[in-house]
Symmetry: C2
Subunit: 135 residues, 2 copies
């Protein structure tokens, strides 16, 4: 677990958090379908927590603290694989999204809008009604 | 084309470039396979150029200028669909990658490394030898 991990002081893969002021983008992708679910940000601690606990942990830029996705709703993202890019400054998580929806607006993916004729057009259906889930 | 587009002065979909100092992340995903190819950044101009020309145009943070991906190599990304996320601060491009490789290191995807046992492990094969392509 995380405590053991920290005590082990094993060498972490080196991600380049410095280039972007401590936060790097993390893409969550459905491990089964390949659908891109969302993009959030990680600081070093969020990345280490994700490795340690096996569920996606991000850093919330608005709340300025660690964001254990799904902690209250139970809609966690179980991490199946973690990839990093050539520059070591972006993370790709292949996940299983518990509850079926990654987006707080009730859609499976946050990318439910297509740009068409200079407009945003919603092309997906809601999995849940956010008014009923977030009370 | 872009010139017509600008002259039309049509209303652009509103992306939130301000939140992140003018640059938002753009994910490029293979339109056929769903593979995530890379993540780069766009400013307003890069987004508009992408819409106008139909190939992915990013903003290079290192070179501090527009980056028409594949302009010299011919390995452009033909944009099949553009999606935006719930917060209007991330773009997802579904693309056809000409030349078969999005990564300057010669891999199809920039995400060719998996994090395993606290190490980075290369799990993909090169499509081209970068030493031969970038002379």
């Amino acid at each position: 677990n995380y405590q053991n991990y920290k005590e082990d002081k094993r060498v972490m893969p080196e991600l380049d958090f410095d280039k972007t002021g401590g936060l790097i983008p993390a893409i969550a992708q459905d491990a089964e379908t390949g659908e891109v679910l969302m993009l959030a940000y990680m600081n070093q601690e969020a990345f280490e927590e994700t490795l340690a606990c096996g569920n996606a942990v991000y850093y919330s830029r608005s709340r300025k603290k660690l964001w254990k996705k799904g902690e209250t709703s139970g809609h966690v993202q179980k991490v199946r694989e973690i990839r990093v890019d050539c520059d070591n400054d972006t993370v790709l998580l292949k996940v299983t999204q518990v509850g079926g929806a990654a987006c707080h607006k009730g859609y499976k993916s946050c990318f439910y809008k297509v740009v068409e004729n200079n407009e945003f057009k919603i092309v997906e259906k809601r999995v849940f009604d956010p008014k009923k889930v977030y009370k």
